[in-house]
């Protein structure tokens, strides 16, 4: 187990997290359900976390892991507020379709 760092080049982690990030983006574009979009955003955040941890591991510095902690804090807060918003929107519009929420325009 200790030799993961020797066995796996760091670039692979780069590619993996980029791929995860793009899947998240695709999800945001693909779906209309606001809750799924929120989940895809979580996915993107996690791809960034993965990247940070990989850099931290390959450079032998735990700073990156501390950043991941903070990202988790923000993500948790964001999900809490986001889901609360979802609830109240659903209560008003009886839907979580983002195309229903198009009142904010000229």
């Amino acid at each position: 187990m200790e030799n993961t760092l020797q066995a796996v080049p760091q670039n692979w982690y780069l590619v993996l997290s980029t791929l995860l990030f793009c899947i998240g983006i695709m999800g945001v574009l693909f779906r209309r359900n606001a809750i799924i979009i929120l989940m895809c955003i979580e996915l993107m955040l996690n791809s960034v976390n993965l990247l940070l941890v990989s850099f931290s591991a390959y450079s032998g510095n735990s700073d990156g892991q501390v950043f991941v902690f903070f990202i988790m804090v923000v993500a948790a807060a964001e999900v809490a507020v986001g889901l609360a918003l979802m609830m109240s929107i659903y209560r008003n519009a009886a839907s979580t379709d983002i195309n229903v929420l198009n009142k904010l325009k000229w």
Binding site: I25, V28, I98, N99, L101, N102, K105
Partner: protein, 642 residues
């Protein structure tokens, strides 16, 4: 030396208080006047000035006539080798002005408490008045030209505010604007003069400038330029030809203002300034000659106009212009202390005349036309007697204050140039004539107004008559300050001022002093002449009951004089009209065509872009995310390939 220094430090506090008290009064009334009862505000203002006056007296007692006190309060402007401090210079000249400004200022504040009693702008009036006193004190106390200039501009501002005090009247507002604009012309001269001093002398300190000027050749171009520019400033402020037309219009303000600002104090600022820089001016004889000519011309010109005016305040206004001309003539003759002496006596009797006129107007409920007065002597005795004495003083009736101060100037004129003496004597006789035309038409004969007004004629309250009486005493005995040497006494006033004026004596051309016999002859001539003129006026206006004709009936020269030689109309045609036409041209060409077009075009472009771009705001979140992704891609591609 040590004693002197202790003495000096003891005097710093009163010196600062002199200027601070009116400022404090101004701030209290200006900021909290709304919350104070009306009666209190007037007394606050008056007491502030009284305190100021007491401090001035302390200074007068504490400082002997040969020493001066320089107080640098803080370093104001310092860059490269120029260093301008904000400081006060207290010397006999300053103290003279301080006593006049605060003393007469206090009396007029007291008078105003009665005069403005029913006015809705009561508090505002006293606020302005205190501010004016503050600036006037700054003007006379400053130790360099810049501090003087602050005061100079400040009194101009207060003058503007007070002329337009009844701002609901359009013509009063116009008079205020006229005064302000005309003063700007003069102020530009003053400002340029200061720039010249700063550029060539590197300083605008009174003493430094005077020292520097003495290293230059007398009558050099630089000195003439500077003194001419300063004199232009004085012309504006002291209403000399050709910048005098604002002063008669300034009578739109409340009468106490006319007394304080437009007769006793502010208008003499120009004379103060020239006396303050007497060394500079005596080094430039050309300028002195110019001042003499302007002064003499103004004196006669204004006196002639005064002959045919029918508004009680207008007559006094032209008389003020005429007297100011006389003072400038004195300065032009190099008789600086005589000029100052006339400033002081003139402040006494002219303030009294205006206050008396105010009392008359008060008694007649706002009537100012002397053709509708007459016979008032019976009803308002105090006003009548004080007004009569003041008129005697200004006319040069023997042994009253005006007699001595005028006579001194006339004697100087006689020494130097007989023609000037003749003209000034004529001007002085004209003064006596129109002043007594005023007195006889107002106080003698029968009342010519309506019965309704006649019933309500009443003497003014004590707050108004008291200042009249005090000023009357001063106007009568003020001449004793400057008893000529003929009477084998020292000339108190000129001795007091000698430390200020002695510096310039060596540069002036010396004339043979007239002998005592000649001097007595001159005095008798002036005195008898004045009496004769007064009797002539008495004969015409009391015995024959002559009344001024209506303006429309006048013909020929009379008509021209009655219309003030059409000076206003000439200015209107020569300056105002072309500027109006030019402004209209610029309005159409530059403003409407170029600037407005550019501004409107900009607005139009922004509006149109906005209208088009807002269509992108569909409210569809998916579209926004899509646009965001595209944008990110574009940014990354730009980063990659460019």
């Amino acid at each position: 030396m040590n004693d002197n220094m202790i003495q000096d430090t003891l005097l710093v506090t009163p010196a600062l208080l002199v200027s601070l008290l009116p400022l404090i009064g101004f701030l209290i009334n200006g900021l909290f006047g709304k919350f104070l009862p009306k009666s209190v505000t007037g007394w606050i203002a008056a007491l502030a000035i009284l305190g100021s006056f007491i401090c001035s007296v302390t200074l007068f007692n504490g400082l002997n006539s040969t020493s001066s006190l320089n107080i640098d309060i803080f370093n104001w402007i310092a860059f490269s080798n120029i260093n301008i401090t904000f400081g006060f210079l207290i010397d006999p000249l300053t103290i003279t002005m301080l006593l006049v400004v605060t003393g007469i200022g206090f009396l007029i504040h007291l008078y105003s408490i009665g005069y403005m009693h029913d006015d809705e702008g009561y508090t505002r009036f006293f606020t302005y008045l205190n501010l004016f006193i503050f600036f006037m004190l700054l003007l006379v106390m400053g130790n360099n030209y810049l501090v003087m200039f602050i005061g100079w501009e400040g009194v101009g501002l207060c003058s503007y505010l007070l002329i337009g005090f009844w701002f609901k009247n359009e013509s009063y507002n116009n008079a205020a604007k006229k005064a302000f604009v005309m003063n700007r012309v003069g102020d530009l001269g003053f400002l340029l003069g200061m720039f010249f001093m700063l550029f060539y002398f590197g300083s605008i300190d009174y003493s430094t400038v005077a020292n520097q000027a003495q290293t230059l050749a007398p009558n050099s171009a630089l000195l003439i330029t500077i003194t001419m520019l300063l004199f232009v400033g004085a012309m504006g402020k002291s209403a000399q030809l050709p910048l005098f037309t604002w002063l008669p219009d300034a009578m739109a303000g409340p009468t106490p203002v006319s007394a304080l600002i437009h007769a006793a104090t502010m208008v003499t600022a120009g004379i103060y300034m020239i006396v303050r820089s007497n060394i500079l001016f005596s080094l430039a004889p050309t300028t002195l000659t110019f001042i003499l000519i302007v002064g003499v011309a103004t004196s006669v010109f204004a006196a002639v106009i005064g002959l045919l005016q029918n508004d009680i305040k207008k007559v006094l206004a032209y008389s003020t212009v005429s007297q100011l001309g006389l003072m400038f003539a004195a300065l032009g003759l190099g008789a600086f202390s005589s000029g100052m002496f006339h400033v002081v006596t003139h402040a006494f009797f002219k303030a009294l005349l205006f206050l008396g006129a105010g009392s008359v107007i008060h008694a007649l409920h706002g009537e100012q036309d002397i053709r509708k007065m007459g016979g008032l002597g019976k009803y308002i005795k105090v006003t009548y007697i004080t007004f009569l004495l003041a008129s005697l003083a200004i006319s040069g009736f023997p042994f009253l204050s005006g007699f001595f101060s005028k006579d001194e100037i006339l004697a100087h004129a006689f020494e130097q140039n007989k023609t000037i003496w003749v003209i000034l004597s004529i001007s002085s006789f004209i003064t006596a004539f129109y002043m007594f035309r005023l007195v006889f038409l107002t106080f003698f004969g029968n009342f010519r107004g309506t019965e309704e007004t006649k019933k309500h004629i009443h003497e003014s309250p004590i707050t108004m008559t008291l200042p009249l009486i005090v000023l009357c005493i001063l106007a009568v005995v003020g001449g004793l300050l400057g008893l000529p040497e003929v009477f084998h006494v020292q000339h108190v006033f000129s001795t007091y001022l000698s430390s200020v004026t002695e510096g310039s004596a060596q540069y002036l051309v010396h004339h043979e002093k007239v002998s005592h016999a000649t001097e007595i002859a001159l005095m008798s001539f002036a005195g008898i002449g004045a009496i004769v003129v007064i009797l002539f006026a008495y004969n015409k206006y009391v015995k024959q009951n002559a009344l001024p004709a209506d303006e429309v009936e006048l013909t020929g020269l009379n008509k021209v004089i009655s219309n003030k030689f059409y000076v206003d109309e000439i200015y209107e045609t020569v300056f105002v009209k072309p500027i109006t036409v030019l402004s209209d041209l610029f309005l159409v060409l530059v403003d409407k065509l170029i600037i407005d077009l550019a501004v409107n075009a900009t607005a139009w472009i922004v509006a149109t872009t906005g209208k088009t771009m807002r269509l992108l705001q569909t409210g569809n979140t998916g579209f926004y995310v899509f646009a965001m992704i595209i944008g990110m891609m574009v940014l990354l591609i730009i980063r990659l390939f460019i």
